[in-house]
Symmetry: none
DNA sequence: CATGAATGAGGATTCATTCAT
DNA sequence: GATGAATGAATCCTCATTCAT
């Protein structure tokens, strides 16, 4: 997931797949990036099951090239997934830098919603590859971000202490799978508001 | 969706597909029911894309029979879907008969969770067929049930009046798609509790 | 083949299939006739491969009924075929009654063309079931009609004696398979004229 | 169509399908040619509706390979068709080089018959795919050849001027569809003779 | 006799994946 | 490294035919 709509210009060498290898030849690197971009684009529509050959053609490479970069179809999907989650989480720190912890939390959750709203199909699509072990890294990242925000907000006495981050994250990620529907964005923000009402509830009480 | 795990004993002639036709021959009817049951069973695992041939074999019929009863694969899925939703919604009235409106709401939402917990894959699977026009009947039923419960609870001054039923339903149905995870059931109930905290919040205020 | 466009009112009990049986119950007979009519109608479009179920439904009967009347799909097609050929040949005599033999021949050939033009698809379709032994009765009938006409015309010194009826019939039946094309009818009549030019040629010579 | 029985030795890179692409890899090219050859062979029997799998197996390739080379079954058939027609027409010029125009015409028509006789099923089969727009190129070629021959023969005062090439071509191509029958070849040549009698008729007249 | 449900073989088609070039 | 041809399993779907009702 990524907060801002579509920003297909990654500055880093896409740390996803080729774990150990040398830093890829220039053209190889370019191909890899193109494939990711193409896949992302296609997934935006909400479907994941594109013939690899389509992805290859639209990237201007042969199918073989996909396999050189991604052991399997899943691996490609996962790479897109990681990239999106990464971008999304990256902004948690920035938010903490300029807001109180609870507002940062609210903002962060709001951004997740916005992301999902702006990348409808993609978010939904990515969510639909549930528990393949490979995909756990993504959720973990999210969990860490939300946990940190909540911990700080509790420390600042802005939040009930008796609610687990997992509960909150569950709501949000679940929401993001259902983002097919005109009124979704508003509805989802309403949910977040309601949720925060609940979260701040105990705090307000004497 | 159905509240209690698996109750494959339909009393009525399965009003799903053969809209106008005569009341199906005995064997035909049995086959149809078997197909639905088999499909339900398979879907429990969370996947919907079984070879129709599997469904047929496990039902002890030929593929052709599926096509006779369900014009398309979607139609079969939808039939299962309708059946489940129907059973689930049926209990809303019963709850209202013995609980205050807000507790009935809480119970109803809780039952949805329990259902999804007991039928893991099925709930998730069914939820993932989003907006095909044919599937709108199901969501509508749910929406009506939740709306009614909330309206009554508001009338009884047990609930904030400024929250739309759609918001609540969105949370619950979204939740039900993510029910893959050991701790899910507890987590989901926690979400419902948190949600109700938020919903009753305003009522306490003068 | 049938000379006049569409005349679905056969007076005789359709002598095609039920060789020995008693004269069919009234409803059974009606069903049989309906099936033939429906098939004929469908074949008009030029295709023969309709699901028997379609033919049944459009005739208002069940598939089983087709099988009661026609042992196999081929048998049904053949029945239509025979019926058409029969009707077409029936008029040879009538022509001889009022024309000289060579003009009767010309008229007969012309009528075959007209028939094929008026029943485009049907003629082409029927022709495309070539040599199944069952279908030989039809061609034989045609051959006899043409032979007789030519024999008489030769006897009347209106036709060369050195051309076999088979040669003429070959031209005409071949023509009838290609009747897909706007200008076909005119073209086919031109062929017949040219053919007759050739046939009468020798006669003119001293 | 091809004049001499079976001559599966194409000198040119089979210009049929891959319109613009690069000149096919060696193995790909070989497969393509094999598929055409196999199809041709099978079609000789007069049927066109072979399981693609058969064609593939007999060519020693997988089904997928057919789909790579021919988008659809029709495309494969058409490719065979074009190849045959091409070979047949190629000899019209040669005939004109050594015969008077009317004899060249007679020879050309005779060769069509011979071709059809030697490739029974194939000719008939190919003829039975009538008007699909893709197939118009073939007939056009034939028409041009016949037109040219007739035009020249008329110019040489060897042929009536009032007969359209289309009429002649109609006879011949129609004939070629019915070439199932022991005596066909003789019969067909008789037709051609009769036809030419008619065609030369007017010329003899003062 | 008629009906229409069930069967199941038959054939089409797609695509992930491998591998020769 | 890249390419794209080949493979073939996996599925879908259709329909002639049989047979219980």
């Amino acid at each position: 997931m990524k907060i801002l709509p579509v920003d297909p210009s990654p500055t880093k060498p896409s740390p996803t797949k080729s774990s150990p290898g040398k830093p890829l030849r220039a053209d190889a690197r370019r191909n890899r990036e193109r494939l990711l971009a193409t896949a992302r684009e296609l997934f935006l529509g909400g479907k994941l099951d594109f013939p690899l050959e389509d992805i290859a053609r639209r990237s201007g490479v042969g199918v073989g090239t996909i396999y050189r970069h991604f052991e399997t179809r899943e691996a490609l999907i996962e790479a897109v997934y990681q990239q999106e989650i990464g971008t999304l989480c990256a902004c948690a720190d920035e938010l903490l830098g300029r807001l109180s912890a609870d507002d940062a939390l609210a903002a962060f959750l709001g951004q997740m919603i916005d992301y999902a709203a702006n990348n409808r199909g993609l978010a939904a699509a990515l969510c639909s590859i549930p528990d393949a072990p490979a995909f756990t890294a993504g959720p973990r990242l999210l969990m860490e971000a939300v946990s940190r925000l909540m911990r700080l907000a509790v420390a600042e006495r802005r939040l009930r202490a008796d609610v687990e981050p997992g509960t909150v994250l569950t709501v949000i990620t679940s929401l993001c799978r259902v983002n097919d529907d005109p009124g979704w964005k508003a509805q989802a923000h309403a949910v977040v508001a309601l949720l925060l009402d609940g979260l701040r509830l105990g705090v307000a009480r004497p």
